[in-house]
Amino acid sequence: MYGGGFIGEAEKQTQQDDPKLLAEFEAKIAKGEKIEPKDWMPFDYRKQLIRMIEQHAHSEIIGALPEGTWVTRAPGFKRKLAIMAKVQDEIGHAQLLYSAAETLGKPREQMLNDLISGKSKYSNVFNYPADTWADVTVIGFLIDAAAIVNQVANSKGSYGPYCRALERICYEEAFHLKQGHDAFVALATGTPIQRDMVQQALNRWWEPIMHFFGPSDKMSVHSEKLMRWKVKMASNDDMRQQFLSTYIPKIWELGLTLPDAALVKDETSGKWTFTEPDWDEFFKVINGDGPCNAERLAVRKWAEQTGRWVRQALTQPGKQYVTPFA
């Protein structure tokens, strides 16, 4: 869901993976062993991992922007400190994830170039605007909750550096979720104006949240391979169900509503039914035509452009860059 999973360049594999090495590799994974950067890995494993981790990193750095909209306007010290810490954490997560992706051989600057050129994707949910303070609480609560479902699953994957980064991230996400829920509850249990603000925000964000885990997986050969290699740890559908089971009750217990009359849990099967979100809209937005895509990239370009003199002042031409190894 960090870029749709199935959107990407077709960088062609020129040589078949050695079948003996491939078999050994798959046996290792099946046994639950981790793969480290210098281990042999199939072409597609490396390619998919770079794309996945990179897109996750981009999602963090772009993810800092919707809530960043309100970082100067947080009401009161508790919220001010919390939002400053939270948005800062997103950049911290981006750093951890770029570092993990770098171990696979792609330099950080190349990844950032691909982001600002529009070549690499990031989680679609961040292409929507944070219209009010209440939007910040919805993002901090529900989108972080969704991210946690995904991150906890992937932290048990096969690639060492990504797992280690995710463990650290999951720990910090616990704070994000708690502070988000806290701010959300403050509004929901507050004055009529506050309650209305958060209900409106919920109505606005519900479809992007439902889009978060991506369309239903067809158990394609592609998907099956990624799961066998423990690159993808759970299906989009399973993660969405997990999210709904945990968080819909937390919304309803506050007497708030969701803009989907079909949302209901089958008590026997434990599965939620819901109105299928508009996937055409999802693809339209992820391909550039959303309310904030232009602004998100413009901000990153601005940051890179205005920061260029700083980075140049830090470059040491004599030094030898080595690909990180852990």
């Binding site: 100067t72 009401p75 010290f77 400053m84 948005v87 950049i91 940051a303």
Partner: protein
């Protein structure tokens, strides 16, 4: 309240306002800094400053009967703020923000060192508490200025330009407080003049090491008056923005 108590409260108010406004300004870089690792570091320091401000406002509330921190910080208008004009200036480019951080934090370090032997026990407790944070802030600032001052022609020019613009405001930061004599007499604080002298000695030595020119000040009134409620055109818009959500309902719990 006695005259001495008023003087103590004014000092704390001045400190808290300075830290809040600077922390707020530096927090504007969160998520959009020039280097990922630096974005994280600058964000932390901004939080430190806001956190220190909050603790000082808490002291004003508990010991001097001022309204509680959120109310006091989020409902006043510009002329009620005591921060020096230096801290309310817009963030500018990164050289400007770094240079301001360098100039202010060195003063902050010395000020709290002086306060660590204050007869006003709570202030000297805060001085000890904040010591570690401020030590890192100064380490950060000095490391950056050092790095940029010897890197490229462009970085040297950026730093000098920022220093030229900021110097009058930095100098004005040390304008005499309304109760300096009383504070000195009672061992609460040795006054702005003493602070300035120590600061100037350290800063000028550092700037010489970094081969940056100390500007001349043609007009000593530039940048003054902040402590007395005279501010630049930038403070009110900052406050309007900072308090936008809070003032939707200042009595609500956010």
């Amino acid at each position: 309240m006695s005259e001495l108590n008023n003087a103590k409260a004014e000092l704390i108010n001045y400190l808290a306002d300075s830290l809040l406004i600077l922390g707020h300004r530096n927090g504007e870089w969160t998520g959009i800094g020039p280097v990922i690792e630096e974005d994280i570091a600058f964000g932390s320091m901004a939080q430190d400053k806001v956190g220190q401000a909050r603790q000082l406002y808490e002291l004003l509330h508990s010991d001097f009967g001022y309204s509680e921190p959120d109310t006091f910080a989020f409902t006043r208008t510009a002329e009620q703020f005591k921060c020096p004009q230096l801290v309310e200036l817009p963030i500018g480019d990164y050289a400007f923000s770094l240079m301001r951080h360098f100039l202010f934090d060195q003063a902050d370090l010395i000020r709290f060192e002086m306060l660590s032997s204050s007869s006003f026990v709570q202030l000297n407790q805060f001085a000890n508490k904040f010591k570690g944070e401020i030590k890192y802030h100064v380490f950060h600032a000095n490391t950056w200025i050092k790095q940029l001052s010897k890197a490229t022609d462009e970085s040297k020019i950026m730093l000098q330009t920022a220093l030229d613009a900021l110097w009058p405001y930095a100098f004005a930061m040390f304008e005499p407080g309304p109760n300096d004599a009383l504070l000195i007499e009672n061992g609460v604080f040795d006054g702005e003049k003493a602070l300035y002298d120590k600061w100037f000695e350290t800063i000028s030595t550092l700037l010489n090491t970094y081969q940056l020119n100390i500007p001349n000040i043609s007009d000593e009134t530039i940048g003054r008056g902040g402590r007395y409620g005279y501010h630049t055109e930038y403070l009110q818009p900052l406050l309007t923005e900072m308090t936008e959500v809070f003032t939707i309902d200042p009595s609500a719990e956010w």
